[in-house]
Assembly symmetry: C2
Homo-oligomer: 121 residues x 2
DNA sequence: GGATCATATTCGAATATTTGCATACTACCC
DNA sequence: GGGTAGTATGCAAATATTCGAATATGATCC
């Protein structure tokens, strides 16, 4: 079961990992847009837009309602996209470590919680 | 410049979007591990582990120090992985909408900020 | 009916990714 | 030196993804 869960998460990340789809989601985060709007904003062929929207739809990230002959797309889970954009906008400092760092922390953890230090020969 | 930025973000998400790599990151979030540890935990061939670690290394997500003949891998940007796992663990409710919802919100926005409602014929 | 607009789908070619396998490398022990 | 443990790399096959082109659908207008 955990494996299935992991696969779902990986699938989500992989499908989010496409520049065009990210841009579409960013645009939809600004407001509802129809296919032609997106085509004009991103300047890519309409079938390509439809293809990416189909992927996002299958993943239940977007949906649409019809307004005349227009299909107005919107974020089906806006909080998900908001969290994604926040994640992508974050700053994540690099923390280099060596054997001594980990040994010290290992001792600390050991004292606190009785956990053995990792990766000892 | 913004396009480059988007491509980098997409690359990051795509490379995170692989079940094995996600599992490796989850394990490393629990503590430092060497290649053999990971091989045993995930039960996959060692060259495969090394390949995924190489991908994660190139993305500057992990690094290692040497301890004798072991290479002890750790998260190079632990806050990034923590944010990722939090994002993946979140609950994101579905919000269905129709033309009337958006029309109402459009009017609200229009009054507040003078913005025209989206997706009108 | 024919033309046009908005959108979706299908298909094929190009490309990228993933994996398994074989092998190479290095450090250590005897 | 030879053997072994830990790790990395190169390569080929299988698989998946992406894009463009062509085509299809359905609504609207003349």
């Amino acid at each position: 079961m955990k494996d299935l869960d992991i696969r779902e998460k990986a699938d989500l990340l992989r499908l989010l990992g496409h520049p065009t789809r990210l841009l579409i989601l960013e645009e939809l985060a600004r407001g509802v847009k129809c296919v032609t709007d997106i085509r004009d904003l991103l300047d890519i062929p309409q079938p390509n837009v439809s293809q990416h929207l189909a992927v996002l739809r299958q993943a239940r990230l977007v949906d649409f309602y019809e307004d005349g002959q227009l299909r107005c797309y919107y974020l089906l889970r806006p909080a998900l996209v908001a969290a994604l954009l926040e994640f992508l906008g974050g700053e994540y400092p690099v923390v280099k470590r060596d054997r001594e760092d980990v040994r010290r922390e290992g001792r600390l953890r050991e004292q606190e919680r009785g956990v053995a230090p990792a990766c000892e020969a």
